[in-house]
């Protein structure tokens, strides 16, 4: 993206949404980094992890089964390190699945819970926590410090990656925005938020490996699917369907761009 493009975006953002974009004043970024460092200990996402673990191990649903036989890609019941290799192709469903769509498969097949019941509450709210979101928090926590290693080998994996890559730069909507409009240039900010440049290895790695995250502003732990939905909102796109092929493809592209980094979530964000 060239500078005039950036200027255009900044202008559009400032006019249309009262965002003020400032190109990297180092001192403020440093102060924010200091703030993040200071809050990094004592992450309330731990509670969501605990809740998720309980749900994983407790028999429920019409089949009164636990999720302990759920295959997240490393064999039935293996949770450790599974998230660092997702999304991936699954033989049983003949699909590429990310964590949340795979959890959906396990909950419907093993526990017999109707899909509509699960997708009716994909995300937590102030008054009620989402089971699938807590389960995701538990699973990702079991990949802490595991190197991201998402493979693009199988033809379906290749297809998902290519679709995701194209989606990332696909412009549309009332402002003609793509993900890349905001996330393909280094050192751009909206207000105080540094926008990660997903074409920069380091940026992509630190952004991807810090989600899911406890959002301080919301007092809730948020999943990766939630993160994508929120950026679709930023892009003025309609909200994508939970666990849809499109969101999985996009996740595939972002996950691959983070390969090689240690997974560091669940994170803690403003």
């Amino acid at each position: 993206m060239n500078t005039s493009n950036v200027k255009k975006i900044i202008l559009v953002l400032a006019l249309a949404t009262s965002y003020a974009a400032v190109a990297g004043e180092v001192s403020d970024s440093d102060k924010i980094a200091q703030y993040r460092e200071m809050i990094s200990d004592g992450n309330p996402a731990d509670f969501d992890e605990m809740r998720g673990e309980e749900l994983w191990k407790t028999a429920s649903g019409p089949k009164n089964a636990t999720l302990q036989q759920c295959d997240l890609g490393k064999g039935a019941g293996v949770v450790k390190g599974a998230y660092a290799e997702l999304p991936r192709y699954f033989k049983d469903t003949q699909k590429v699945q990310d964590l949340e769509s795979r959890l959906l498969t396990c909950m419907t097949t093993l526990q017999g819970i109707p899909e509509e019941e699960i997708t009716a509450r994909p995300f937590s709210s102030d008054t009620k926590q989402s089971d699938i979101s807590s389960l995701a928090t538990y699973v990702v926590g079991q990949s802490k410090n595991v190197k991201m290693n998402v493979l693009v080998k199988n033809p379906k994996e290749k297809e998902a990656y290519e679709i995701g890559k194209r989606m990332f730069s696909y412009r549309a909507g009332p402002y003609d925005f793509a993900c890349s409009t905001c996330h393909a240039t280094s050192h751009v900010r909206i207000r105080m938020q540094d926008l990660p440049n997903f074409f920069d290895k380091k940026d992509a790695q630190s952004a991807y490996t810090s989600w899911p995250a406890y959002r301080v502003s919301q007092g809730l732990t948020r999943s990766f699917q939630w993160r994508l939905n929120d950026c679709y909102r930023q892009q003025r796109f309609p909200e994508p369907k939970f666990a849809s092929e499109a969101t999985i493809a996009l996740t595939m592209f972002l996950a691959v761009s983070a390969n090689g980094a240690d997974y560091a979530g669940p994170g803690l964000k403003r």
């Binding site: 949404t17 965002y19 403020d28 102060k31 924010i32 200091q34 703030y35 993040r36 200071m38 809050i39 004592g42 909206i190 207000r191 105080m192 938020q193 301080v216 502003s217 007092g219 929120d230 909102r233 930023q234 403003r270």
Partner: protein, 157 residues
Amino acid sequence: MNSEMNLERRKVLKVGGGVGLLALFASIGLVSPAMAEVDRKAFSAKSMDEALSAMGVIIPEKTDAIKLSVPEIAENGAVVPVSVETTLAKVEQISFFVDKNPNVLAAHFYLPAGTEGMITTRVKMGQTANVIALVKADGKFYKASREVKVTAGGCGG
């Protein structure tokens, strides 16, 4: 708010058939009697002056012996990490205040002998304001103060 909060406090104190819950806690050793008796009026104080007088503090001395750590900028006012560490001897109490919050006193700690003069917690801040740490050591009050800028939090979500 003021009376509402006092009411809440009173309700708590009534639980247990006239025996205050805190007193009940005290009797089983969860909370010391000294603490149960402490005047909680300071928690509904709307200004620093009001809070300090409710706590019986005259004029706290400024000192270099208190290190107050706060972020210069808080990305979100919902969670502002605050930390105090002091080299003063015989630290008895540490309190944190946010001077522009509706109720200025955020937390009050009693440190028995043997407990280090060091506390970390997290406070909410409605706007850019001063965080004040008050330390009582060997019967005397000391304070340290630092400003924290609270940003509006950016683009929703």
